[in-house]
Amino acid sequence: MFKTLLNKCFKKSIWVYHTNTGACNGCDIEVINALTPYYDAERFGIKLVGTPRHADALLVCGPVTRQVVPALKCLYDSVPDPKLIIAIGSCAIGGGIWYNTYNVIGGVDKVLPVDYFIPGCPPRPEAILYGIAVALGLVKKKVSPVILKEESPEKWMTF
């Protein structure tokens, strides 16, 4: 009951916090691009917020470098439940072109439970919009409902 209510609220508007874990800035620019008047993500209620404590979703770009891991975990903790983690770009998914570098531990899914992956290097703003629209259930193709994860610290502690 509560979960369905939350699901409904989630659909209406989703506030995102954008974070860079070591990206080359390509993905960041595309995320910003998706928020410009041309793509206008705000028509879906997607809004960029300045602090993770206001956010529903975390947009993570870039490979996870060793140094950023504690910060990323702290960030994940600060986002109130329920939360969505969206990994944007090949780097955030599996390391991308930095898959075997000494300072990169891999994709975001090594540290956090990721809900949506949007591949591309960088993904077009359309692809980002599509990914988020899929996550929100606005687009019906390949849709799976928003799954609210139970918090399981063990899952993201192991990396």
């Binding site: 599996g94 072109i97 809900d115 992956f117 591949p119 591309g120 290097c121 919009l129 390949k142």
Partner: protein
Amino acid sequence: MFLPKIREITEALRSLFTPAFTTKYPLKPYIAHDEYRGFPKYYEEECVGCGTCVQVCPTSAIEIIDDKQKGVRKLVLDYTSCSQCGQCEEKCITDKGIKLSSEYVLSVTDLKAPEVYETVEKDLAVCEACGDVIACRDHLLFVKERLGAKAYAHPNFLIETQRQFAEVKPSSIKDKIRREDLIKEVCPVCRHKTVVNDEF
């Protein structure tokens, strides 16, 4: 004196009747322009299975899986690692085996989902003596074509050419490969061993 704000009013009227600048994107599809480098796609007829794209890929997005028992080579391209750089298209030996499409939209919840993989399967020619990989059959034919008349100097090309027209019987190489087996489909290592070690 109060003047009517003509400029503002005309602007307001104009913007009332012009369509919005914002794209309609998720409701209407957007087709990327031709030069856009989207996700690469294999063309099974043109690809010869040489594995060059695997070697040049900077993200190791393509995996090569050889099944020596069945004689099948599988090239598995993982879109989630691909950085759409176009190296595979540029370095492809046939120039047409893999091409970047203008497709760019993909969103998955699971990295093992089938839509993030693109697979191409090719028949392998395996050594009759040791069972090791020689090359893909299409690759041998491709090289034969390029070599022209010179290709007939090598038995592997001959056998592959024969195989196009008729069934080639599986040969019976005994436990040890001998000099007379050189006219069979054997790998370079076995060929070398025979020439060096086999006594007359």
